[in-house]
């Protein structure tokens, strides 16, 4: 029997208004221990407000927050040592050295003497700042400051870490370092709530993802389940296709739907940001044109013998479906002229849920 792990953070119907603006309109979610929990949303979606309330920085107008099973609010002091705050903006003293910064924040959480020094050294090493430990933070590059900011968030050894866009505006090296550090921290048992505009980061890091928009929770699920919200599509052009080719395609296991298109240039499936792949002169050689969203032009013939015909398939999985289509073409005397695949991505899911309108 599966025992659901107790959530380290449980947010129930949290609401917050700033004047006439409803920043949060009743958000509920739970974060289980040991996961990296992604929190996505366009600018102004309410992510930072939600994190601030969850971290005890802001008071919610209504709703409850439970941290490790205990009520937690802005006035609660005793659970704060369990929480680390990786802020969106830098939160370090530029006139203190990296070591002084970490010592200070460690002391605020009760670390003292050797334990403090040991922990500071450990964290400095983890973020790659040992060599610059005694330099003032104000002299650091943007990436170094970001790493120090992360170090300051975890120096006291929290159990739950809020990371609000920790890689914003840093170079790829620092970004990768932070990314790896978060993975390491999570591997060490730290629960992480991670917000970012970099979908690939969230997709790669987060076991569970919440998408917030307009102050309301649009989705909260595992990545596979979120991806399932969008179809995987395969578009093919076939010459010498038999008349019942569409029915034959639909009969392939894993193909949920197949439609023949008399037009040699069927309308594209998906759009900007979709992950598409076009294959020509197949079945055995695949070529791709990512992002075009358009199938290759027909190679001759029409609807019937000698003319390329276009088919659109909704499939469970792109890979197995393509193999089966190639096999069908071979067995039915048809020639696969080109194939275009469109797989669901987190970004597609995100845009699908939040729309394409600009938010800033």
């Amino acid at each position: 029997m599966n025992v659901m792990p107790e959530p380290v953070l449980e947010i129930t119907d949290v609401r917050k208004r700033y004047g006439d603006l409803a920043a949060l309109g009743g958000v509920s979610l739970a974060v289980e221990a040991g996961v990296v929990f992604g929190l996505l949303g366009p600018n102004g979606a309410g992510k930072t407000t939600l994190l601030s309330i969850a971290a005890g920085l802001l008071r919610a107008d209504s709703g409850t927050v439970k941290l490790f099973g205990k009520p937690f609010s802005r006035d609660t002091r005793e659970l704060r040592h369990l929480v680390g705050m990786g802020t969106q903006d830098l939160s370090i003293y530029p006139d203190l050295t990296a070591r002084e910064n970490l010592r200070f924040f460690g002391k605020l959480y009760g670390l003292r003497s050797r334990a403090l020094e040991s922990r500071v050294d450990e964290v400095l090493g983890a973020v790659g700042l040992t060599d610059r430990a005694n330099d003032r933070a104000g002299t650091f590059s943007g990436g170094m400051k970001r790493r120090l900011n992360l170090a300051a968030a975890v120096v006291h050894g929290p159990k739950l870490l809020f990371l609000d866009e920790p890689t914003a505006g840093v170079d790829p090296q620092s970004r990768n370092h932070i990314f790896e550090q978060v993975k390491a921290l999570n591997a060490a048992g730290l629960t992480v709530i991670y917000t970012s505009h970099y979908m690939e980061e969230v997709q790669a890091l987060c076991a569970r993802i919440a998408i917030l928009d307009g102050g309301t929770l649009r989705a909260c699920d595992t990545l596979p389940n979120l991806l399932k919200r969008l179809d995987a599509r395969v578009q093919i052009e076939v010459t010498n296709a038999p008349a019942d080719f569409a029915q034959r395609l639909e009969a392939i296991p894993g193909v949920r739907r197949a439609e023949g298109n008399p037009s040699p240039q069927p309308p594209p499936l998906g759009g900007e940001g979709e992950h598409s792949r076009t294959t020509s002169h197949v079945p055995h050689a695949l070529s791709s044109s990512e992002g075009s969203g358009s199938p290759s032009p027909p190679r001759g013939g029409g609807w019937g013998v000698g003319l390329p015909s276009a088919f659109s398939l909704v499939v469970d999985g792109v890979g197995p479906a393509l193999a089966a289509v190639a096999s069908l073409c071979a067995s039915s005397g048809a020639t696969l002229a080109s194939a275009t695949t469109t797989e669901p991505t987190l970004e597609r899911v995100f845009l699908n849920l939040t729309g394409r309108a600009l938010r800033d």
Binding site: T87, D89, S91, Y93, E100, L108, Y109
Partner: protein, 563 residues
């Protein structure tokens, strides 16, 4: 413990902020230096319209055994000067300093009582000659009044200030006359009618010989009365009879007969005497006239026998006194001479000279620093508003306030964590400026330097309280600069930090007590400018400053919005 952690961090940041060091330490020093060089000697002194008379008193005092006037004559003169309204008497102890002041045109005139002033005053007399064995009398009265030199008194004058010097000289003349004249008249009048005086008169009259006839004529009524009374007296008759009887060749009967004859013929005798006295030239037969011949062997002064002198002397003195009854010529002081109430010496008009100009290029030790240093110490204590404000704003700007809010800290702990290092910095600033004032500008710490510590502490508390209040309201560096500068300058101006509080109208001084600055400045004035500070006033100021600090801090705690 978190408070100390926060405090240590902020203290470190403050110490690393050159901007704060420049504002809090260097700027006030620079301003004090510039103003110390630029301001005149009188800065810090309440404007005094009274005439300043500077005095150097070297007088040795009264000669031994002399009881009057119970103090040195120079003190009598000084008391008289100080009793004069609108005169401020400045006592200079060092004659060389007096000469320097004159040479540097800092005083128009200085009165110098010489060593012998009292002795000369004591010897002052209308007499031209003293008694044997006594020094010659001094006559201090000259053509223009009192001859200073005769009294061993000098008036040092600055030739570049003739008008002021002349005014001071005239005041000195009048005062000396008030002292010298009664002393000399009193002494002289005491001599009138005394035996020596009468003997001197008698001696003079003895030279008048013969006794003038008219004097004898004028004596006729007296002689007649004497004769009448004498001859009618039975005792006199007995004396006559006895005398006649004792005369050789006489007997009792003959004596009785002669006495009876004389008694019988006495009226005619008296008339004859009267005729001789009253009508000395009646016959015109004899030369010289009768009365002249009668008085030819008698000197006028012989009339003034010692018994007569004893009778006449006091009567003469009383007669003169009665004739000039509005005055007491026996008095030796002005008030008694003119029979008026004595003028009381006003010690408040008398001050010890202090060199308020200072020395050297910096005018070290000048009085102005007793005002400037505390003024700018107080004013710049409140410039802490800027440093504290920037400290608070920096927490927001650097995003670290979020971390503080996320940490297990209360709002009070965060506030206290900010307040403590600022208090430390403010204390260090106050002590630094007072020490610099002493070391660099030669300022004194007054007679109760230990009271400066609580005053600095209470001022710092008030300043820090106001600083955190402003910091709790301002959210940007610009706001801090605007609010801070406005608060500091307005409060500084209202309180009297920018100019001496003594120059402010009384009403404004009262109004200015709404500022903590004013309380601090009043306490500093007590401790640094008053030779005998009023400790209770200093305590009251400290209490007021502590109250300001507490109220400001509470308001800051209430206003502070960490979100």
């Amino acid at each position: 413990m978190p408070i100390l952690t926060l405090a240590a961090k902020d203290l470190r940041l403050l110490l690393r902020d050159p901007r704060s060091a420049a504002i809090l330490l260097l700027t006030p020093l620079l301003l004090i230096l510039v103003l110390g060089l630029a301001l005149g000697e009188g800065f810090g002194e309440k404007p005094d319209e009274r005439l300043r008379i500077s005095v150097v008193n070297l007088d040795k005092g009264l000669p031994p055994g002399v009881m009057f006037p119970k103090k040195s004559w120079s003190d009598v003169v000084i008391d008289d000067l100080s009793a004069t309204q609108d005169i401020r008497l400045e006592i200079i102890t060092d004659p060389a300093e007096a000469e320097r002041l004159i040479a540097r045109n800092r005083r128009a005139a200085v009165i110098v009582f010489g060593l012998e002033f009292s002795a000369r005053m004591h010897a002052s007399s209308f007499l031209s000659k003293g008694a044997p064995g006594t020094p010659d009398p001094v006559n201090p009265l000259g053509r223009d009044g009192v001859d200073f030199e005769q009294l061993d008194l000098k008036l040092l004058t600055d030739k570049t200030q003739p008008v002021s010097a002349s005014v001071i000289e005239q005041v000195t003349q009048v005062t000396l006359l008030r002292v010298v004249i009664p002393w000399m008249i009193g002494k002289a009048f005491q001599r009138v009618g005394d035996p020596e005086f009468m003997e001197q008169v008698a001696g003079t009259l003895r030279k008048v010989k013969p006794i003038p006839a008219e004097v004898l004529a004028d004596l006729d009524p007296i002689v007649q009365e004497l004769l009448k009374t004498l001859t009618s007296d039975t005792e006199f008759a007995g004396i006559v009879l006895k005398e006649f009887t004792a005369t050789k060749g006489s007997n009792f009967f003959k004596a009785t007969e002669d006495a009876a004859t004389i008694a019988k013929r006495t009226p005619e005798f008296r008339r004859a005497v009267h005729t001789a006295f009253a009508y000395p030239d009646i016959t015109g037969i004899y030369e010289p006239p009768l009365l002249k011949r009668v008085g030819a062997n008698i000197a006028f002064g012989e009339v003034l026998k010692p018994s007569v002198q004893r009778q006449v002397g006091p009567a003469v003195k009383a007669g003169v006194g009665e004739m000039f009854s509005n005055y007491d010529f026996e008095a030796t002081t002005w008030d008694k001479l003119v029979k008026r109430t004595a003028r009381a010496a006003n010690t408040a008009n008398r001050v010890e000279y202090r060199d308020t100009a200072g020395t050297g290029v910096l005018n070290r030790g000048a009085l102005r620093y007793q005002i400037l240093v505390p003024s700018y110490t107080v004013m710049f204590a409140f410039f802490l508003v800027l440093s504290v404000g920037w400290l608070f704003v920096a927490e927001r700007k650097h995003g670290t306030l979020v971390r503080l809010r996320a940490a297990p800290l209360t709002r009070g702990q965060i506030l206290m964590g900010k307040l403590l290092p600022c208090l430390f910095v403010s204390l260090a600033q106050g002590l630094f400026l007072l020490a610099a004032g002493r070391i660099i500008f030669g300022m004194t710490w007054g007679s109760r330097p230990e009271l400066l510590l609580p005053l600095v502490a209470c001022t710092s508390f008030a300043a820090v309280g106001l600083s955190v209040l402003v910091a709790s309201v301002a959210r940007t560096e610009t706001q801090v600069a605007v609010y801070g500068t406005l608060v500091v300058l307005v409060l500084g101006g209202v309180s009297g930090s920018l100019m001496p509080r003594d120059l402010m109208p009384e009403r404004m001084k009262s109004v200015s007590l709404v500022t903590p600055h004013a309380w601090a400045l009043d306490a500093y004035a007590q401790l640094l400018a008053s030779p005998t500070p009023d400790v209770s006033a200093v305590q009251l100021s400290c209490a007021a400053l502590a109250t300001f600090g507490a109220v400001f801090t509470l308001l800051a705690w209430w206003r502070m919005d960490l979100e």
